[in-house]
């Protein structure tokens, strides 16, 4: 009984479908909406002035960075413990991690700018920011492991294991950083839990931001997963050709082992 290989994704010339095009347009609209409300229509903060508008980027990217992490973790688990070990889950896990790293970088940069503009400090050793920084590096490590040599299945298993290890380790990291920061009674200047009085229009804008970025994440995830799938397809299409070439070594090498 020949072993089953993972079902190959159907070939397309590009990674867009009608669904993703619709999604893409909706995303663009939402991002435009966000720009409008974030930069123009929503009010400036009483204390911070216009700097508060960075929040409309910073908060959604935090949320998405953690969402991406959860997606990677869940897909790693589904790949490893699923009966069919479908490589599709591995692809989603990898794509989500890549996007997550980008969002985490955005979170750290936007938070840093916000802190600098408003309170003069680029960095605060608060629990959320510190844990996000550690998570960021952990994910870079995950991507490095994904880049290691090996067959697709081995790479997927190894990455899934590393991804799940992160699920175990990150809560512990978070817990220890929280405990550590709670020791210091001095008031944190920049509390990423919004040291800002938000209500009404600002809240609405913030909500729009979260929606817009979530749509962006899904759109990116779909496209990135598909390009990874196309890479795999290319590799396996090359396989039949390679098998044929391999067998032709027999005829081209003449008489071997006869009587040398």
């Amino acid at each position: 009984m020949t072993p089953t290989t993972s079902p190959q994704p159907t070939a397309r010339r590009a990674t867009g479908t009608r669904a993703t095009r619709v999604l893409g347009i909706v995303t663009l609209v939402m991002l435009g909406w966000l720009l409008l409300f974030g930069l123009v229509l929503s009010p400036a903060d009483i204390d911070q002035g216009d700097a508060v508008r960075i929040m409309y980027v910073h908060v959604p990217t935090v949320w998405l960075a953690y969402l991406a992490f959860i997606v990677t973790a869940v897909c790693s688990g589904l790949y490893l413990f699923g009966r069919r070990h479908s490589l599709g889950f591995d692809r989603v896990a990898g794509a989500s991690a890549e996007i997550g790293v980008v969002f985490m970088a955005l979170t750290l940069i936007s938070g840093s700018l916000w802190g600098r503009i408003t309170w003069g400090v680029y960095w605060q050793w608060d629990a959320r920011l510190t844990t996000t920084a550690l998570l960021f590096v952990t994910y870079i490590g995950y991507l490095a492991v994904r880049g290691l040599e090996g067959t697709r299945e081995r790479r997927a298993r190894r990455s899934a294991v590393i991804g799940l290890l992160a699920v175990v380790e990150i809560p512990l990291v978070h817990w220890s950083v929280r405990l550590w920061r709670s020791l210091h009674q001095e008031a944190t200047i920049l509390d990423t839990d919004l040291d800002v009085d938000i209500d009404g229009l600002m809240l609405f804008t913030l909500f729009s931001g979260v929606v817009a970025f979530t749509l962006l994440f899904v759109w990116l995830l779909l496209h990135r997963t598909r390009t990874i799938a196309l890479d795999d397809l290319l590799a396996s299409r090359g396989l039949d050709r390679a098998i044929a070439e391999r067998r032709s070594e027999v005829t081209s090498s003449g008489s071997i082992g006869g009587g040398s």
């Binding site: 190894r158 799940l164 290890l165 175990v168 512990l172 990291v173 817990w175 405990l179």
Partner: protein, 229 residues
């Protein structure tokens, strides 16, 4: 956890420690390195009050860096002649492999920590107090178990092939943060740095223990997959 598995793990740990006793790499190279790190910290920080206050943290930093090279050594003996591969190929239980190597690593780290603690007393003026001794010992043990588990997990992964050794620090350091944070706070409480009471240290020991158990169990399960090439 079967008796056979534990026996195999113990045999593997004994083998690791025997190799160390023969080759003395840790004693001759890693130990001087850690001592040197502690001296060099003084150059960077100056010898005022900062050094004494930072002593617990500096000591654990030295331990952390030394752990990286100790782990590399632990797996270098396995990859030099393909011994780990040989064990894997022969179907030796990967959980036993993990436990054995982690146990040997823990023993080596405890020895290291004992020396570094002494150095902290000598170089940084840290003063252990009687009521903090139990806390000190439990902190050291729980932190060591966590580090040993982490090191074995990622050491096994990094040992797989060429171009992987550089991954080790990148993978270990972020996840070693809880150990660094917890162990430092625990020792601070034991020594009374910054007027910390001994009682404040115990939650950190709790954290370190949970960490060690969580990482240890996950590592045992994951090791088989990670050492495949």
């Amino acid at each position: 956890m079967s008796a056979g598995r534990l026996r195999a793990a113990r045999r593997i740990a004994v083998k690791d420690l025997l190799v160390e006793r023969r080759s003395r790499v840790l004693v001759n190279q890693v130990l001087p390195f850690s001592g040197l790190v502690m001296v060099v910290f003084a150059f960077a920080l100056g010898t005022g009050g900062v050094l004494e206050r930072a002593a617990p943290g500096l000591m654990w930093l030295a331990v952390l860096f030394s752990t990286l090279i100790t782990v590399q050594r632990s797996f270098a003996i396995e990859t030099a002649d393909g011994a780990l591969e040989s064990l894997r190929v022969a179907g030796i239980d990967p959980v036993a492999l993990f436990l054995g190597k982690a146990a040997a690593l823990a023993v080596e780290l405890i020895a290291l920590i004992t020396v570094l603690l002494g150095l902290a007393v000598v170089l940084y003026g840290a003063e252990p107090r009687a009521e903090g001794v139990v806390l000190l010992v439990t902190t050291a043990i729980s932190a060591t178990c966590g580090l040993a588990a982490l090191g074995t997990i990622y050491g096994g992964l990094a040992a797989g092939g060429p171009g992987r050794e550089t991954l080790l620090p990148l993978l270990i350091l972020p996840v070693a943060a809880p150990v660094l944070i917890g162990a430092t706070r625990g020792v601070e409480a034991a020594l009374g740095t910054d007027r910390t009471a001994v009682s404040e240290g115990w939650p950190w020991v709790g954290l370190l223990t949970v960490f060690a158990v969580a990482v240890g169990v996950s590592g045992a399960l994951a090791f088989g997959t990670l050492i495949e090439d």
